[in-house]
């Protein structure tokens, strides 16, 4: 196997923080995906570690539960030889009354080069970006954005389909509470895909049409013309459970069953950001079936997070954001 001849890419990366895909250009998103493809190779080695971020410190600040994202960021940082430290809100001085910014400033004083932040309040990472010198990576802020999830979905689509431009992608389920949906919408539209949002009217507000998406309420009508389905989780913790009569009814109209997969394009690509409610958003046979790329998403997530950490560390002396 001969190595591929690669044209010298010439993209200027100037961001200190990754707060959302809304802030990035098509070229910048492509640069992250190209970089992530390189890190994918590192993930396949026996020795999955490179020395690029030796001596850098990555703090995980999670103010909401997470297993997958936190573990993935932690492992990504370790594969770049950075030191990682977890900060868990429930056992910290926050429970003694310390403010969010004071906590972050203390962590900054410990020499954090990066803070990976998840918070239930939209804009919380942006607030930190204005108040500390560390690079801030948004790992999910309320129902606003989850940029690395959006990027890993884009990476999975690009690796499976060979392109993104011209594809029709359906995001199915709880759009209104979903930060994954927003990051996907920004990323997919910038890269030239057509985006269909599909779910019960209570969870798919018409206002999303203003972003350039098609809004649909009947999955069976849109399914035959889509190339990719991204199945979003019902966010019971954000009171989404009150938005439809019953789980069984939701499942009946919007659950991805084998029967629905059979009526879609044969090369339908099925994504789910996880965690999945098996039997609600999709059946086990679909989740584990040949169209599913759910586990590829997890693998690609590591490569995407390595790429983001790598790219953001290039401008450690840049001033903190002064405007949103």
């Amino acid at each position: 196997m001969a190595p591929s001849p690669k044209p010298p890419a010439n993209v200027r990366w100037t961001h200190k923080h990754l707060l959302g895909l809304e802030d990035l250009s098509r070229e910048e998103i492509t640069a992250i995906l190209d970089t992530a493809d390189s890190f994918y190779e590192v993930s396949k080695r026996d020795r999955k570690k490179v020395p690029a971020l030796t001596g850098r410190v990555v703090f995980n600040l999670f103010f909401e539960n997470s297993t997958r994202t936190r573990t993935s960021f932690d492992l990504a940082a370790k594969r770049l030889s950075a030191d990682t430290q977890d900060f868990t809100a429930s056992v910290s001085s926050l429970s003694k009354g310390e403010t969010f910014i004071d906590t972050a400033k203390n962590i900054e004083a410990m020499g954090a080069d990066f803070m990976v932040v998840r918070h239930p309040t939209p804009g919380a990472p942006h607030l930190l970006a204005r108040n500390v010198q560390s690079s801030i990576i948004n790992a999910g802020d309320g129902s606003h954005e989850h940029p690395t999830q959006g990027l890993l979905d884009l990476m999975t689509i690009r690796r499976k389909k060979g392109k993104i431009e011209g594809l029709t992608v359906a995001l199915v389920g709880d759009i209104s509470h979903s930060r994954v949906a927003r990051s996907n919408i920004w990323g997919l539209l910038k890269l030239g895909a057509k985006v269909i949002l599909c779910g019960p009217p209570t969870l798919v507000p018409k206002r999303f049409e203003a972003m350039g998406c098609e809004v649909a309420y009947h999955l069976d009508e849109v399914l035959p013309r889509v190339d990719v389905v991204n199945v979003l989780r019902i966010q019971f913790e954000r009171a989404a459970g009150g938005s439809f009569p019953s789980i069984a009814e939701y499942s009946h109209f919007y659950g991805m069953t084998q029967e629905r997969v059979n009526r879609a394009k044969p090369d339908l690509l099925l994504l789910a950001p996880g965690p999945i409610n098996r039997g609600v958003e999709l059946t086990p046979e679909v989740a584990d079936g040949p169209n599913s790329a759910i586990l590829d998403q997890v693998t690609n997530g590591l490569a995407v997070r390595m790429a983001v950490l790598y790219l953001l560390s290039g401008r450690k002396d840049a001033p903190a954001l002064t405007t949103e």
């Binding site: 196997m1 001969a2 190595p3 591929s4 001849p5 690669k6 010298p8 890419a9 010439n10 993209v11 200027r12 990366w13 100037t14 640069a31 190209d34 970089t35 493809d37 390189s38 890190f39 190779e41 590192v42 080695r45 026996d46 020795r47 570690k49 490179v50 020395p51 690029a52 001596g55 770049l80 790598y310 790219l311 560390s313 290039g314 401008r315």
Partner: protein, 187 residues
């Protein structure tokens, strides 16, 4: 900055250099030892491809080629203002126990070769690694020497050497860009 451009060799000259390097490799290993060539991105890769074609013409066996991107292993990565785009390491064969020749266009401080060795050793434990450079321009900062060198050129630290090779470049040639006002001092 006006720099004086000096063509060290044209396409024919570069072809002769590659002919000789391929002969040197065959003299050192014999025809029966399976070789692997690993080019250092970016110009090391097309040079490795040219050498592989020449070696295969003699042995009748294809020579597998890999590519190394040393970016993540550079010792100056923390000091550069903006990080370069990765071109990726692609080595489609196990390096464990193999005879490997690292191929680069220019050998200068030796730091790139050091980084490439670390990439290779992270991938496995080759039986032996040798280093080939199309041009050795001196000024080593690490105890690294080429086992095979196409040509030796006297340079100052401010000079630049460009090894141009198709398809990465429009023509095959080696160019020395002299820094203005400098006389060559050492090798």
């Amino acid at each position: 900055m006006n720099s004086h451009e000096e063509i060290l060799c044209d396409a024919d000259g570069l072809g002769l250099i590659l002919d000789r390097l391929a002969r040197d490799i065959l003299d050192a290993y014999g025809k029966d030892v399976p070789l692997r060539l690993v080019g250092i991105r970016s110009r090391g890769v097309p040079i490795a491809e040219r050498l592989a074609t020449r070696i295969q013409a003699v042995t009748g066996r294809p020579v597998p080629i890999g590519a190394i991107d040393v970016t993540l292993y550079r010792d100056d990565i923390n000091t550069s203002p903006r990080w370069p785009v990765l071109l990726g390491t692609e080595i489609g064969f196990p390096v464990e126990g193999e005879q490997i020749i690292l191929v680069d266009d220019v050998l200068y401080t030796g730091r790139t070769a050091r980084a490439a060795l670390n990439v290779l050793l992270d991938l496995g434990r080759p039986a032996r690694v040798r280093l080939l450079a199309a041009v050795d321009r001196g000024h080593r900062e690490l105890p690294i020497q080429a086992d095979f060198a196409g040509m030796h050129v006297r340079t100052t630290r401010d000079d630049r050497i460009l090894v141009q090779i198709t398809p990465a470049d429009p023509v095959d040639r080696i160019v020395l860009l002299r820094a203005p006002g400098h006389q060559p001092r050492s090798v």
